[in-house]
């Protein structure tokens, strides 16, 4: 690898890291504004013009607060747990494509790396999302945290299965594990059309995987305070927050890439790169809006509803979807 491509790789990594760090700042504000509007309020509007600096102020506040470790906690595990939330969330971004191949001095793709098992890599990192909640909940030595951890663990393991089944049907259609190949295969038709059932299963499982309303039982404020991270303060608390919003955005990007054609869309000749990024971001941000909308609209499920919905409805549907997809694929090819 020569110097230029090494530098290019570093630059791409930096950009993705910046997105990772900036996304929560923007999305927390956006969520509060949108929730406010849906509930006929204005949302935060005091700090800076239109309240734009609200999350920055919150971030500074969290960063300067005391970092408390409960005396009964298991110190090592308590310390490591937030890292287990953040690291898988960052690592998964390395295979997400933001746009097509472009010409900036030389041919380069708008992604960090084109792994030929890309989607499996994302799923494997997603399966590590159980560790953060389980470790933090157990190490806090508090009953609310413990309940949150158990709920989160059971929920993530269950919905991971249906998420994987939906992804497998996409892989059957695209014929590749690579996210870039999957996007390329949707040049003429977005996969949401032949895979509408899979699309719905993926979205529902994705919301459950990210512990968001209406599947936010692990952090249900009204019953178990904040669930697994109730004992965390200051910057460690912020890490849980960053990871949650980064995971939501990652899930939106995945839906975009797997079902909504990624960077495919109308394009102006000569501006393929720019329009690709714009298309990807527009689709992902629309899905993010959907997340906020869901939170404002739907009440929380009960625990037994959550489990029976996954195992008795989504899982059989997922298997059926995969079978149909495989048969159709066999017939067509």
């Amino acid at each position: 690898m020569d110097l230029v491509s090494t530098l290019a790789l570093l630059a791409k990594g930096l950009v993705v890291l910046l997105i990772f760090l900036a996304a929560p700042l923007i999305f927390v504000l956006a969520e509060r504004k949108i929730l406010g509007r849906i509930q006929s309020r204005r949302g935060p509007n005091r700090v800076g013009p239109l309240g734009l600096f609200q999350t920055v102020a919150d971030g500074i506040k969290l960063g300067t607060k005391e970092d408390i470790i409960p005396p009964a906690a298991d110190r090592v595990v308590f310390w490591v747990a937030p890292l287990f939330m953040v690291i898988p969330a960052i690592a998964a971004w390395s295979v997400i494509p933001f746009g097509p191949m472009v010409e900036i001095g030389r041919e380069t793709g708008l992604w960090i790396t084109n792994l030929n098992v890309g989607i499996l890599f994302v799923l494997a990192l997603g399966s590590l999302n159980t560790y953060g909640p389980v470790m933090s909940g157990w190490s806090s030595n508090s009953k609310y945290a413990h309940f949150g951890a158990l709920r989160s663990g059971a929920q993530i393991i269950s919905y991971e299965l249906t998420l994987g089944l939906a992804v497998l049907a996409v892989v059957v259609y695209a014929g590749s594990f690579s996210l870039i190949d999957i996007v390329e295969s949707q040049r003429h038709m977005w996969l949401v059309a032949p895979q509408f059932l899979g699309f719905l299963i993926f979205i529902v499982s994705g919301v459950a995987e990210t512990n968001r309303a209406p599947f936010d039982l692990p952090e249900a404020e009204t019953e178990i305070v904040a669930g697994y991270f109730v004992e965390y303060t200051g910057i460690r608390f912020a890490m849980f927050f960053i990871a949650e919003y980064a995971n939501m955005f990652l899930m939106s990007m995945l839906v975009t890439v797997l079902y909504l054609g990624g960077w495919n869309g109308f394009t102006i000749p000569g501006l393929e790169g720019v329009s690709g990024v714009v298309w990807t971001m527009a689709k992902a941000l629309t899905l993010m809006f959907g997340y906020f909308w869901l939170r404002a609209t739907l009440p929380r499920l009960r625990y037994d509803q959550l489990m029976s919905f996954c195992w008795k409805i989504l899982l059989p549907l997922g298997v059926l979807n995969l079978l149909v997809a495989s048969v159709l694929r066999m017939v067509w090819s």
Partner: protein
């Protein structure tokens, strides 16, 4: 050069973490050390260009199996076993011969790595794998052509074991009872239809 350094790092940490898994007293920390082992073994696979294997290693072992270990440990709330001795006498009789056997095997493999790796790889050298499009495709090629029957048999075996587990987990009298009431409906109390027939069959379990 970088690959060698990565390999040595992965191997050393994997062995140290494996030792920690056995020697650490707290069950949760022991399970977490096992996670570290799994990650570094996956790293070893990745260094050897077997990305598919590395990803599956993380997904299955770290993502599913050890999570279940952790879950069980947490549910039973096993904290420390301070009083337990490190070694039980009975373990020694079996442990020492097994350790020697393992050492001999490891030595034999280390001495024969090249021919063994050649034999195991078969027709699939790096060029052939690249031509198929990656290790995932190469694995599928072998698994679903050459070894389809063993693969299917393994699948049936796994299915049988999960059916067996379900059977063991069922309460013995469950199939004699009518459909269990859905707790979703039950919140508002049993409705009329169920109260009629249900009260008699569905009593004091």
């Amino acid at each position: 050069m970088i690959e060698d350094i990565t390999f040595v790092y992965m191997a050393v940490i994997a062995v140290l973490a494996a030792l920690a898994t056995v020697l650490v007293r707290s069950p949760v920390r022991s399970a977490l050390s096992l996670v570290v082992v799994v990650f570094h073994v996956a790293g070893l696979f990745a260094v050897m260009d077997a990305m598919f294997l590395a990803v599956i290693q993380v997904m299955v072992y770290a993502g599913a199996i050890i999570v279940l270990f952790l879950f069980t440990i947490m549910l039973l709330d096993l904290r420390h076993e301070a009083g337990e001795p490190y070694l039980h006498k009975n373990q020694l009789w079996l442990g020492i011969p097994l350790a020697i056997l393992l050492l001999v095997e490891a030595g034999w493999i280390a001495l024969n790595t090249e021919p063994l790796a050649e034999a195991a790889r078969g027709a699939y050298d790096a060029a052939a794998i690249a031509e198929l499009g990656g290790t995932g495709q190469a694995l599928a090629e072998v698994l679903f052509n050459e070894y389809l029957l063993p693969f299917e048999i393994a699948g049936v075996l796994l299915l049988a074991s999960s059916v067996g587990a379900l059977l063991l987990a069922r309460r013995p009298d469950e199939d004699k009872l009518p459909d269990a009431p859905d707790p979703v409906d039950d919140v508002t109390g049993p409705d009329d239809e169920r109260a009629e027939g249900g009260a008699a069959i569905w009593p004091t379990r």
